[in-house]
Symmetry: C2
Amino acid sequence: MNHYVISISREFGSGGRLIGKRLAARLGVPCYDRTLIQKTAEKSGLSPDFIARAEERARSRFHLSIAPIGINSPTFAHQSVPVSHQAFFAQAEVIRELADEGPCVIVGRCSDYILGPRPDCLKVFIHADLASRVERCVEEYHIPADDMERRVLQMDRGRGNYYNYYTGHTWGDMRQYDLTLDSGKIGVEGAVELIVTLAQARAVRDRLPG
Amino acid sequence: MNHYVISISREFGSGGRLIGKRLAARLGVPCYDRTLIQKTAEKSGLSPDFIARAEERARSRFHLSIAPIGINSPTFAHQSVPVSHQAFFAQAEVIRELADEGPCVIVGRCSDYILGPRPDCLKVFIHADLASRVERCVEEYHIPADDMERRVLQMDRGRGNYYNYYTGHTWGDMRQYDLTLDSGKIGVEGAVELIVTLAQARAVRDRLPG
């Protein structure tokens, strides 16, 4: 019943990864999140460890405001990008190939921007209030709540820096998404339900079989 | 089946008013939009014409950046607000009273912010790409397309100024909403379907009968 490549972007601790997994199971399609690192390694010859570290570095390095490179923009020149970013570009290539293979769910990794030009891409952003995100993280990572708030905000900053740099867009600008939702208000199952409804509504509009 | 007061905010030309009407019909509850002007007039003794003009003035006057007053904020003092804003305050009062009467749909008029503190308020924002909003407006208002783009953007600016001034929040910041959606991608019926799903998901979470 799913004809789409569904990209899920999310605030840290909003349950986005779990929502992606449940959604993919419900739709009977694969879900890619951190597994993309292994796939990127296989494709590029870079080690999984190098790719993971490159991602971490990119998030923290871009705390300062740097002119975004916007990899989909007409003026973007691949050769002008530092070698340190090859992990990102290899991953973008893997994301495009997976989308070509058929319907799936992809969590994070600027996939909304990388796949944005595809008409079969549905773009979702999941957020939640800070308190419920901290609560989810404390349960999941067993870290004291008082330090968790700082870490949640730090992770968000990192994701925003990474996204803004590579896309030239603003992380969390609702106009970039088909749907944004507050998982703190409706929970994981409610979020899955909403994204399934989005896919159904698009299928009706695109006149695809249900 | 609906237990909620549903507030719909929208970009100009995104079909938000029509979505509100269809949604209310589907849920069997009243829908309030420009009809609020008449109700505010009855309650306040101000003429409907005065209220409509006050709204227009507020939108255009706030093109310049003015410190927001944030009527729900702890530091807000009613008596410090100019007399020219009494139309807004009378309308806010009417919106609160209508919400007290029971489930309904309210379109625009900062209703998401005015009713935000209520646990039974669902907040939705509807946007769409500029091209499809211009197309909708040309069909609806029979104005040439070339001038329509400028007018659509001008109307959005006015709504943003009005909202930001009275609420102290940023118009269109997805974190203020339970759900935001792109009506250009799924159409009016798809949008109604998504908001109904939101209400159902919240009812499940709030353990209310379906």
